[in-house]
């Protein structure tokens, strides 16, 4: 607090000094608007600060002067001689009091009523300054040894130091190359450590305590809660965390907005709180802490929380989300909808938070500086918003990648994950020349960096690496690169205008080896690469079936079924062709199913005996949400449906016949296939089945969980209070089962014949059991 008072005194003194000339000039010419404005600003600032520091006398003085000046500014009053004198008298009195505070004496008692009276319109010039009740502080305390610097100067020093670090790196490289004497190395080491120290110190000059951001909060919350008839207690922690001052400015607005929201929409009125069994006074805690090179700011209220379902409804009614997409959202994703443009759960827009600035703006502002906003909320218990922002703007952690011999850097904050093209969980499809990557069931547009840059890639497509990027405010896309190198901390500088004009780059920097390297702007890359970023992630989450051909001709896949019949299937529903051993086709849970990788699909097309001990080829059909398999003997050709289709009279697997390439072919009705096979599996796509795994069992969590999730379950832990469709437990453990819920019991030994348990590494058995449980549980 003492620091803050010292700041306040210093600031007020500075303003007073600057004001000295203004006051005289204003006295000479009371109509001078700009002088009036600067005096008004002064009393206004003093008033604001006093409210915070609890200097009631000072506040009353400045408030009175502010009121009078406001009248003049609004044209309600003329700045006549008596008014000018009265205001000047008040400013003098303020100056005296500030002197007293500076001397550590506190504000003396005294009577200012004569000054107030002098301010009244029509007051006579009687306000002969009452003998100052303030004793001039004898012997000014020594001023603290500080100076004020412009941020520009600091920036220049900072950038010079960055240059110095780079120069040092280059020198280090040169020294390594040429054999040098030990004494040179020693001197260089010393230089290095001095430079490192200096960089630290300089970085710190740009650092400010986050307290500077937090000091205004209690006042703001107090005003807000008074206005709204609420009671809110603010708890602030971690004010001593330091952050780049630029960054502090950048998060000021988002933070303010989140707090306004918390007070306005989060915390309930006292009566409602009592009804809900809470204390009348709401608690809003704001805390900051450093974690690595990030600062985490938590804003937590114990209010009513965010209703994820309501958000989903809103999103559906406003058209930002479709029903199918809504069903796929996890509770966390539902909450994240609050960051979508135009969504707010508050039923009415209030003057406090409904100011046209939504959480979407908060998110994009935070993401612009390389930060993240997260939200977590429990209905009825409160909401926690977490801002994660980098420590500084100038040093960016980046990943270096290459195409051929060209190296580039990608800001790490935009990188979602890195996958290999030949990994199991990734497949690639080409749609009309555009690439689509399917990463664990999620479809994301794929662009090759080499194509964007017009460079020659020296790596075959299947050996490339993919960097999955999420540009600020945009949607995921996968960037194919030849190689991925290192993580580096780069000091980034803006590049020349001609380079920036490409839209691809965010800046340049020198890599550790001294060569220049370009830093990409992920959003720019996407734009140049033709990736549309408007659609948000939900659209990508629900994997759509491959796009239907634009042309009128319908592409069909001509094949021979297991029974030898010539058939055709619309190409659009065929995801891919797989070959499986005949033994992975089994009858389970009432129908034939095929195991493809980690998933088990209903199998259609088995209209003849399966070839024994041979591979069976299977089409993987996809309608956007479900997959089924279709067994066949061989593919004949890709063709187009040109002739009329003679429809079949009785519905069934074959919807009609047509001539393809001069020979009749049966057209398979994909709709019928899905209706019959998916219908049987009864997995209503609207909701994921819930499977409960013991939280503490690390084998379950680490080994089993991925399989269960891949089978389409949502995995919950012991704390889950609802009714899971499936419980998995180890043999010997006591599990409270519900007659309606199913359970799978795993046994640790391979041996053992009982039907009740499954050996825990019997993958196929497990998958079958999962599938079977899903069929039963979903009904």
């Amino acid at each position: 607090m003492d620091d803050l008072i010292a700041d306040f005194v210093a600031e007020s003194r500075e303003m007073l000094e600057a004001l000295g000339g203004e006051i005289v000039a204003w006295e000479a010419n009371p109509d001078d608007r700009s002088r009036l404005d600067s005096i008004f600003r002064f009393v206004h600032t003093v008033k604001g600060n006093c409210g915070f520091f609890d200097f009631p006398r000072l506040e009353a003085l400045s408030h009175a002067a502010e009121d009078a000046l406001a009248d003049v500014r609004a044209g309600r009053r003329q700045a006549d001689g008596p008014l000018v004198s009265a205001v000047l008298a008040i400013i003098d009195r303020i100056g005296e009091m500030i002197g007293a505070i500076e001397a550590g004496e506190g504000i003396p008692d005294g009577d200012d009523s004569s000054l107030f009276a002098a301010l009244e319109p029509g007051a006579e010039m009687t306000a002969a300054p009452v003998a100052a009740a303030v004793v001039e502080g004898a012997g000014r305390s020594a001023a603290p040894r500080t100076i004020r610097l412009s941020v520009e100067l600091l920036d220049r020093v900072m950038s010079t130091v960055s240059d110095m670090v780079l120069a040092r790196n280059e020198l280090a490289r040169r020294l390594r190359e040429s054999s040098t004497e030990v004494s040179v190395d020693g001197a260089f080491e010393r230089l290095s450590s001095i430079i490192a120290e200096m960089r630290d110190a300089i970085t710190r000059t740009r650092m400010q305590r986050i307290e500077n951001l937090f000091v205004a909060l209690p006042r703001m919350v107090r005003d807000l809660s008074a206005e709204l008839g609420k009671q809110v207690l603010v708890d602030i922690e971690g004010g001593d965390v330091e952050l780049d001052r630029e960054m502090i400015e950048m998060i000021r607005d988002p933070l303010t907005h989140i707090i306004r929201n918390a007070v306005d929409h989060g915390i309930e009125k006292p009566a409602d709180r009592l009804k809900g069994g809470k204390r009348e006074i709401g608690l809003l805690s704001v805390s900051a802490r450093q974690s690595g090179n990030q600062i985490l700011i938590d804003i937590h209220d114990d209010g009513r929380g965010i209703d994820g379902k309501k958000l989903v409804e809103k999103a559906i009614s406003s058209g930002t989300l479709d029903k199918a997409g809504a069903a796929q959202l996890s509770p966390r994703e539902q909450l994240a909808l609050i960051f979508e443009a135009g969504l707010s759960t508050a039923s009415e827009v209030t003057a406090i938070s409904g100011r046209g600035v939504g959480m979407d703006v908060v998110r994009s502002n935070v993401e612009r500086i390389g930060g993240i906003v997260e939200v977590d909320s429990k209905l009825g218990e409160g909401t926690r918003m977490t801002l994660r922002v980098p420590l500084t703007l100038t040093i960016i952690p980046a990943l270096t990648v290459s195409i051929g011999s060209h190296h580039f850097a990608i800001p790490r904050s935009a990188i979602e994950e890195i996958v290999r093209a030949n990994g199991d969980s990734v497949t690639f499809d080409s749609l009309g020349g555009a690439g689509i990557a399917t990463i664990r069931g999620r479809r994301v547009p794929e662009v090759a960096l080499a194509d964007i840059l017009g460079l020659e890639s020296q790596v075959r497509p299947e050996e490339r690496n993919f960097v999955v990027l999420r540009p600020a405010g945009g949607d995921l896309y996968a960037l194919a690169v030849d190689r991925i190198h290192d993580h580096e901390e780069l000091v980034v500088k803006p590049a020349a205008p001609a380079v920036m004009a490409t839209g691809l780059y965010a800046g340049t920097t020198l890599a550790d080896d001294g060569s220049p390297i370009l830093l990409f702007d992920p959003a720019g890359l996407a734009q140049v690469g033709g990736v549309k970023l408007e659609t948000h992630e939900r659209a990508a989450r629900v994997a759509e079936g491959p796009a239907v051909d634009k042309a009128q001709t319908i592409q069909v896949l001509l094949f021979r079924g297991l029974d030898g019949a010539r058939r055709a299937l619309r190409l659009a529903v065929v995801d891919r062709i797989e070959e499986v051993p005949a033994k992975s086709i089994r009858k389970a849970a009432g129908q034939l199913r095929v195991q493809l990788g980690d998933s088990i699909l209903p199998l259609a097309g088995v209209n003849a005996d399966l070839p024994k001990d041979e591979k069976v080829r299977v089409f993987r059909l996809n309608d956007g949400t479900h997959e089924i398999g279709y067994a066949f003997r061989e593919v004949i050709d890709l063709s187009a449906l040109e002739r009329d289709v003679i429809l079949s009279d009785n519905g069934g697997e074959v919807s009609g016949v047509t001539l393809i390439d001069g020979e009749p072919a049966e057209l398979v009705d994909a709709h019928w296939l899905f209706a019959n096979h998916v219908g049987l599996s009864a997995r209503s796509g609207s909701r994921k089945l819930v499977c409960k795994l013991p939280t503490a069992d690390s084998w379950m969590q680490n080994m089993l969980r991925p399989i269960v999730e891949a089978a389409g379950y949502r995995v919950v832990g012991d704390e889950y209070e609802g009714q899971p469709e499936l419980v998995i437990a180890s043999q010997g453990e006591k599990v409270k089962t519900d007659p309606s819920g199913r359970q799978i019991v795993l046994r640790p030994e391979r041996e053992g014949d009982d039907q009740e348990t499954i050996y825990r590494y019997d993958r196929a058995g497990l998958l079958m059991a999962l599938k079977a449980a899903g069929v039963g549980g979903g009904k």
Partner: protein
């Protein structure tokens, strides 16, 4: 006080750059291309821990393409709006004193030169064309746009 000129040759033409604008003359060895940048941006290079944007003057003047493949090229380093550029030239010859102010060239020059010309200045060795550094940096495309 007459202006000092740096005499360089670009595309077999002797021309002058205002010496005050030129920070140094360097030999570039590494050149990192900038994909998708305008063609006259030959790439990036590093000089004393600074990133230089390398400008191919021939390209900028629409006179052809400098051959940067065989390593070392001479270049004049200039600063414009806080960014450092290296202008690739054939040869850096000399620094001379201008004995006149630039005057318009009334003869018809090639389009590229016309765009980058400040005017003709007299030196002790005869008249020479004074070239605008900013015009070299912005290149042909920027003007056309």
């Amino acid at each position: 006080m007459n202006e000092l000129l740096l005499i360089v040759s670009i595309g077999e033409q002797r021309v002058a750059l205002p010496a005050a604008a030129v920070e140094s003359v360097v030999e570039l060895d590494t050149l990192i291309p900038v994909p998708r940048a305008p063609p006259h941006v030959a790439g990036l290079s590093a000089l004393r821990s600074r990133v230089l944007t390398v400008i191919d003057c021939l390209r900028s003047l629409e006179l052809g393409v400098s051959d940067c493949s065989e390593g070392i090229r001479e270049a004049a380093v200039v600063e414009l709006d806080g960014h450092h550029y290296a202008l690739i030239v054939d040869v850096v010859e000399d620094v001379v004193e201008a004995i006149s102010d630039p005057s318009p060239v009334r003869a018809a020059m090639e389009a590229g030169w016309e765009r980058a010309s400040i005017g003709m200045v007299e030196t002790e060795t005869g008249p020479i064309l004074l070239v605008d550094v900013a015009a070299l940096i912005s290149g042909a495309e920027a003007r056309a746009a």
